[in-house]
Every structure is written in structure tokens, then in C-alpha cells.
Amino acid sequence: MVERRELTKRFDQINPEQIQDFLALDGFSMLEKALKMTPSEVRDEIRASRLTGRGGAGFLTSIKMDSFAAETGKKYIVCNADEGEPGNFKDRYLMEKDPFQVIEGMCISAYATGAQEGFIYIRGEYQTSIKRIQNAIDESRKHHYLGTHILQSAFSFDITIRQGAGAYVCGEEFALIESLEGKPGRTRVKPPYPAQEGYFSYPTLINNVETFCNLPFIVRIGGDAYRQIGSDFASGTKLISLSGNVKHKGLYEVPYGTTIRDVIFKLGGGTPNHRAIKMVQLGGACGAIIPDELLDMDIDNERFQIFDSKMGAGAIIVMDDSHDLFDIIHRNMEFFAHESCGKCTPCREGHIQLVKLIEKFIINEASQKDYDTLRSLAQVIHDTTLCGLGQTSPTCILSTMEFFPEEYNRRIAYRKRGGQA
């Protein structure tokens, strides 16, 4: 069995607008269990689980959480639901199909760290998610799972929804905080990190929707048991958004350690018309593009760390041999050129130049010098920008230079021969 459904176990089993359905399938019972533990005991379990952030960066959740828990005074929990990475739709599913689980995860997180207020920042395009989460908040409040003295305990916590208005970069922690404050979403210089100085300079813990949804699961089976699921590199299950040229596109939950090929073939059923797979992009527009030969690697293979990407938020975009590599890179680069917030020069100006250079490859006008410029510019953007957007956007160029050198060489050689194929 390739799938292991833990976070998605209630999907299609419940009416996502009915709290009773959620409660009937042990909803909020993990919050009850957590409330019987001390906050530090809950954090111990999370530390033991070695849960990593599911938003893409893959940072150990407990490090962020512990440093946030050490902060005193007013502090905020923020659920990052600004899912905008092309190829990803897991957070939308989590919010639309089991919205109460998100609330439960945020409550556990708030209890474990001593926060009293929370936000869910949902992108404005996700109106159904906004509606479902709002209903879940209202219902949870009515049944005393949110508000003051939750389940007659001393713990109080409440959540408000904030909408994004169409800016991919707001998925980045500090850009999101700026947006929450009612400003354009442009990142800040780190440190200090949000856990120390975030929303209006108060300590702020930001986690991805899926990360929060893992907390009830960890409380349920315990940190050590959770650690047993997965691979040596990462523990737990991962939601995979499978799209592109594949028969059964959709959302799948698999333990870490599953190979990319198994996801594409055993779950996705391969390509629709048995065409060969030419390339697969992992993580979304900011992820590595790999050839068929590398599909036997784990979904969390360390090899991708050289591109700072690994699986990102868990998208797998399959492309068959009818597609042109440079056409795809071009789309990705146009996306980043549009979504750059404009704060860092290498990102703002660099992406425009990357688009132009890739266009040269598309029309077979690229020279060896263009290749060198492309490579060094991609590296400069990666090395010198402030936030994750510019740090990861060149991945699709740098990875294809390594995995598809013949594609680049063919285009350069074409020009050398004076346009003779």
C-alpha cells in the first residue's frame, strides 16, 4: 500500500460544514488530550516527532516552536494558507475537506506555546476555503473549542481569518506579516525572526496549514511513534499534489520514503496516453526539474538539497515528451518576474533578464556566453536575495543545467552551425 491516510482520513467521510461529523470521527479529542498534558509535555512530543515544516522550507517545527514558547507577553499564531505555488493544492483540500482539523492543530499549537490569538491568512482566490474555515471557526466557538476557557480549562484562544489579495510572495513569512499589517507584502531582513519579532513586533509563530494539521496526529500516536513513520531524512506523512500529464491527478498522502516513481505510477497511473515522461518538476515552480532516470528517489531525497528545494510543499508535476524544456522554464521565470515583490535588486531585475535569456534558447539564438550568463545570474539571484522567492526560483534553471545538459548544448550548437539542425 503506497498511501497512508492520516491527515486526510476524514476527507469525504464528513460534511466539512458540520462540527458533529468531525466530533464523531474523534475530532477535537486530541485537543482534549493535549489539554490534560502540560504545554511543555506537548512540545516534547512534537520535538520527539521531528516534524518538519510542510510549507516548503522543511525546517524543524520544534525549534521554531520552542523559541516562540520562550517568549513572554502578547504573541500570535499564524496559519499560512497563502498557497500559491503552481502545482500545489494540498492546503485548499485540507481547508475545504476537513477545516476543523486546521482549527484543532492551531489550538494545540497555541496551548503548547502560550499564545492567545491567531490568524489564518488565506489567499483571496480561495473563497470556498475562506467560507469553510469561517464556518469552522464559528462552530468551534459555539461548542467551546475556541474562545475563553476552552473546554472549561484555563486556556483561551481565538482565531480570525485574514485574506490575501493576490500576491504569491505573501506566502513568505515576513511578507505575510507585512500583509497582515495592511501593507504591501515585502519581506524584512532576518534576524530577528518572526518568532521573536513578527506581527507589529510581537512574537509570531507562522506555520503552514499542513504542519498544523500534523499536530493532532502527533498527539494521537505520540512523538516516538510518529518518528517511526517515514525515512531517515524526514518523518511522518506528506501530502502530494500530483498534476500534469498523469492519468489520476489528485491529492495523495504518502509516508516519507516513498519514491517519486511510485507516486506517479502506482497512485497516478502513469501518463494518460503512454507517452514517455520527459521531465518532472518537484515542489512547484521553484522546484528542481528532473528526468525519468531520477524518479526512483525518495520524495525527500537529500540530493535535491543542493538546490535548496527537495520536495518543497509536495507538488509533483509530470510532463511527457510532447513538451519543450525551455517553454516550461520560460513559464516559470515569467511567473517569478511577475511575483517578485521588487525589494531586492537581483530578484526584481534578475528575473526579467532570465526570461530574456531563456527566450534566446527557445528561438535557438543562444550562445555559450548566454549560457554562462544564465548560469551566473541564476546563481547570483539564489545567493543574494532576502527571501525564499529569489533563493529558490533559479532552481529550475540550475537543476536542468545539471540534469538536461544535452538540451542546452543542442540549442547552443544549433546556433553555431548557423541554424542547421
Binding site: G84, P184, G244, H338
Partner: protein
């Protein structure tokens, strides 16, 4: 609700700026925020108009120019692109007689592109106002437009 009522349903704090702008935009038939409204909002939350303008220009869901009653946004990212075998944008352009970025003369439809709307498993997809349409085929796209057009002029087409 009048624009003033919408604005005043939020606390007079600048952190609610985005929420207010989205709410006003949603209320308006032509999905934009006028100079006067920017002025009203700025004075209500006590920030400079230029600040409101900087927010307006940063976020793609907000517009200072009148748009169509129906804002059609076609997803342009890779997962939709590789599943788009009939060209959604071209189909709509030909049907409405406008190109990307334009609004029809009657003011009913605007055609835009959007970044990924998280429907990659049902690609190709597009968004019209708050409605999401997925698994698009040429027939489906034309059907949707015909239906909206019918709604807009009393089903005479």
C-alpha cells in the same frame, strides 16, 4: 450596503486595509476602487492616500480601473498550461472579440490571466469573479460564457 457602511464595519485600523479593499471591490459591479473611495478609506484608517495606492498596486486582485461585470481569470501556470490542449485564452478572445487585458465594450467581461488557483488536479481551470471552473473543454468554456451573457442581458442571446 453602501461603501461607507462596508468600510465602517471594520475597525479604523490600517491592518484592516486589505480586508476593506477586498470587500469594497466585491461589492462593486465593475470590480474596482475609485479615487474617491481610496480617499474615504485613507481618511477612515488615518493613513496617507499614497499608502492605500501602494497597497492597491501591489496586489493583483485589486484594481483602480473599472473592469467587466465578470472578470475572467485564466490560470497561466505550468500544470494548467500542459493540460490545455485547446487554448482557453484564445477561445475566450475569439468568442468575446477582445484580447487579454481588455474589457468588452458592453462592460460585461474582462479577460485576465491569474497565477495558479490551486486546481491543478482539474486543469485547465479559470476563475470568474468568485466562481472556479475546472476541467475546461472548448465546449464548456463557450457554454459558461453563453450562460453568463444570457444572464447579463435577460437571456436574449
Amino acid at each position: 450596503m453602501s461603501i461607507q457602511q462596508i468600510i465602517q464595519s471594520y475597525p479604523a485600523k490600517s491592518e484592516y486595509l486589505l480586508e476593506m479593499l477586498i470587500a469594497v471591490d466585491q461589492q462593486k459591479k465593475h470590480h474596482y476602487i475609485s479615487a474617491e473611495e481610496i480617499n474615504e478609506i485613507a481618511s477612515y484608517v488615518k493613513v496617507k492616500e499614497s499608502h492605500v495606492c501602494s497597497v492597491m498596486s501591489f496586489y493583483t486582485l485589486l484594481s483602480t480601473q473599472p473592469r467587466g461585470e465578470y472578470v475572467i481569470q485564466v490560470c497561466k501556470d505550468v500544470p494548467c498550461y500542459i493540460n490545455d490542449d485547446f487554448n482557453v485564452v484564445l477561445t475566450i478572445e475569439e468568442e468575446l472579440g477582445i484580447v487579454l487585458g481588455q474589457t468588452t465594450n458592453c462592460g460585461r467581461f474582462s479577460l485576465e490571466q491569474t497565477a495558479c488557483i490551486g486546481c491543478c488536479d482539474e486543469a485547465p481551470a479559470m476563475r470568474i469573479n468568485h466562481e472556479i471552473y475546472t476541467n475546461l473543454t472548448k465546449e464548456k468554456v463557450l457554454d459558461i460564457i453563453h450562460t453568463l451573457r444570457g444572464d447579463a442581458n435577460g437571456r436574449t442571446t
